[in-house]
Symmetry: C2
């Protein structure tokens, strides 16, 4: 994907004339018109955008839909394995997937800082275009605002998404039941550490890349194969720990996990030790937990592992039958500890 982005056509806005974003690019006049008509509409080419309407209009069948939003303020904008553009597409696609939905349409709201490089905007737009194409979603509607220099940070992107949920699919914390297997889709913490490394100029012996990836295909495969998936959650801010605690609280069931089953790459573990981070709380952008009926656990694990986004999956625990809605982790040396939400700020602006 990054190669495609590099090989993309030259920036369609004349850089010699407009090397940087100006306030007028968000002002509703000629320059905003030019930005929309010459950059956004051709990049995201589709009939919905082409209608030049105040919103996208499309038909849906009778049934359930999912609707979600996230803003992206990641710093730096480009990092090993992704950038703010691919993150803004995959993050929202994944939130839809976690509802069991097939993602259909995304909106994109850009908040640009006056003086932001036009060429950089073009790189990001190309990355969004490629990520949307990979995830099978259309960027259907958008908005651009420009704030004065010093009142933003280059670019913030909000995406919202809508998707459809197949009949009979019921996914949510309230469906979680004692005995459910908890499957983790891969190793933890790569996104958080990749961002941190890019921000602080840290170097590793191997190339440490973000796990940023769209998860919808993998989730839909589970559903299509008839796996009884009760709850799904992607492991972004707050990491695995926060996701499990939220599900325990919302479902009112305890969760038991085993530290031994949780994979963390050597590089990530080393960085965590040096920097004082705990991989349990690190953000990921291509990892999720699935709560699956225990009778389907092995088949679900096999299906997840057969997908590139889930190669490193493992069953890390199960839903307990006791009444305490707590997350308890058995450590490598066999001791139990209660997993708590962290209080401070582990790593700001990772998404």
């Amino acid at each position: 994907m990054s190669e495609q982005a590099t090989m993309a056509a030259a920036c369609p806005i004349p850089i010699s004339q407009y090397p940087q974003v100006m306030l007028a690019h968000g002002g509703g006049g000629k320059l905003m018109h030019q930005l929309i008509e010459q950059m956004f509409v051709p990049a995201f080419r589709n009939p919905l955008l082409a209608s030049r309407h105040d919103g996208a209009v499309f038909r849906v069948a009778e049934g359930k839909m999912a609707f979600t939003t996230d803003s992206y303020v990641v710093k730096p904008l480009f990092f090993p394995g992704g950038d703010i553009g691919s993150l803004a597409v995959n993050g929202t696609v994944n939130d839809l997937a976690m509802c069991g939905a097939r993602p259909l349409y995304l909106s994109a709201g850009f908040i640009l800082e006056e003086g932001f490089e036009m060429e950089t905007l073009w790189r990001i737009v190309n990355s969004m275009k490629n990520a949307a194409s990979d995830a099978g979603v259309l960027l259907a509607t958008g908005d651009t605002k420009v704030v004065d220099k010093g009142k933003g940070d280059g670019i913030f992107i909000n995406t919202a998404g809508v998707g459809v949920i197949a009949d009979g699919v019921e996914i949510g914390p309230e469906r979680v039941s004692p005995g459910d297997a908890v499957i983790l889709s891969g190793d933890l913490g790569r996104h958080g550490i990749a961002i941190m490394a890019a921000r602080e100029g840290l170097e590793f012996e191997t190339t440490l890349e973000s796990d940023c990836a769209p998860l919808a295909d993998l989730v839909l495969k589970l559903i299509d194969e008839g796996i009884r998936v009760n709850c799904l959650r992607d492991l972004t801010r707050g990491g695995l720990a926060s996701a499990l605690i939220e599900i325990a609280e919302a479902s009112d069931h305890g969760i038991r996990i085993s530290e031994r089953e949780i994979k963390v790459k050597e590089d990530v573990r080393g960085a965590c030790e040096i920097l004082g981070f705990d991989p349990m709380y690190l953000a990921n952008e291509g990892r999720f937990v699935a709560f699956v009926d225990k009778r389907d656990a092995d088949r679900a694990l096999e299906l997840i592992r057969s997908d590139p986004a889930g190669e490193g999956a493992s069953i890390i625990g199960n839903v307990a039958s006791d009444a305490n809605a707590r997350v308890v982790m058995e450590s490598r040396i066999g001791a139990d500890r209660i997993v708590d939400m962290f209080s401070g700020e582990q790593l700001p602006r990772i998404c």
Copy 2:
């Protein structure tokens, strides 16, 4: 509404402990959890938010839907007639209405700057709650990010919205035909001048308030009464001029309007003369143009005028039958001039 907002309950986050937003309020840990559980979920109380899912899940009937987004970066945050919260709700509700849709659900993405006053956030959340209730929409899903001090400007809000379009309703620039009447829903420029006045400390003899208002009820009334509405557009950034030019270009039809029929309040006209603005380009947040089949024009005008949001409506012109997709305005002294998009930046950050 403003009175209700003033009378709202005290801020649910203990101000003595957290007088300002901290980076950790966006970090996925305890403080973010507290903000969501104690402020956002109770304020916007509804079953979709209560499910604590990654997205909102709802049922829809077979048919057409509209999907739209806008980010709000208005400065100052509070102005006569509204604030960033009411604007963020009404602006997106109005974009849905302009598609002929009944607004159902909004998402809200907050980008907060570290150090932003918690009490101010609470005022804004209350304003959004009241505006959503007035417009009959649910705030169904949301996201909060916090950026470091100096990298934002207090608060930016993105809202996206979804709505349903009744069977048989076909609204869009491609439907515009020669002879269509162009109805303007009221006087121009109040929002832009109210923002400018609040920003620069200008005073007027009368209280000049923004026209910020939800337009969905009025639009749906036209549709329900069987008015043949071909196109709708609200007059935000770029004002009436840009809206008409965009529709002329997208429909490939010329538009003729008469300056005499375009109402501008004395205060607004005076401010424009002093500040060098043209009301044709000023932003409005509660005004729209309707392109209506000429046989329905009088009835449409009457219906619009019967609504508080359309009291000052008038027929300002019609779609020309010549082949030039230009907007031509007959001035007060009877001379024709071509209305062009403006090139520069008339008034930044008005929405």
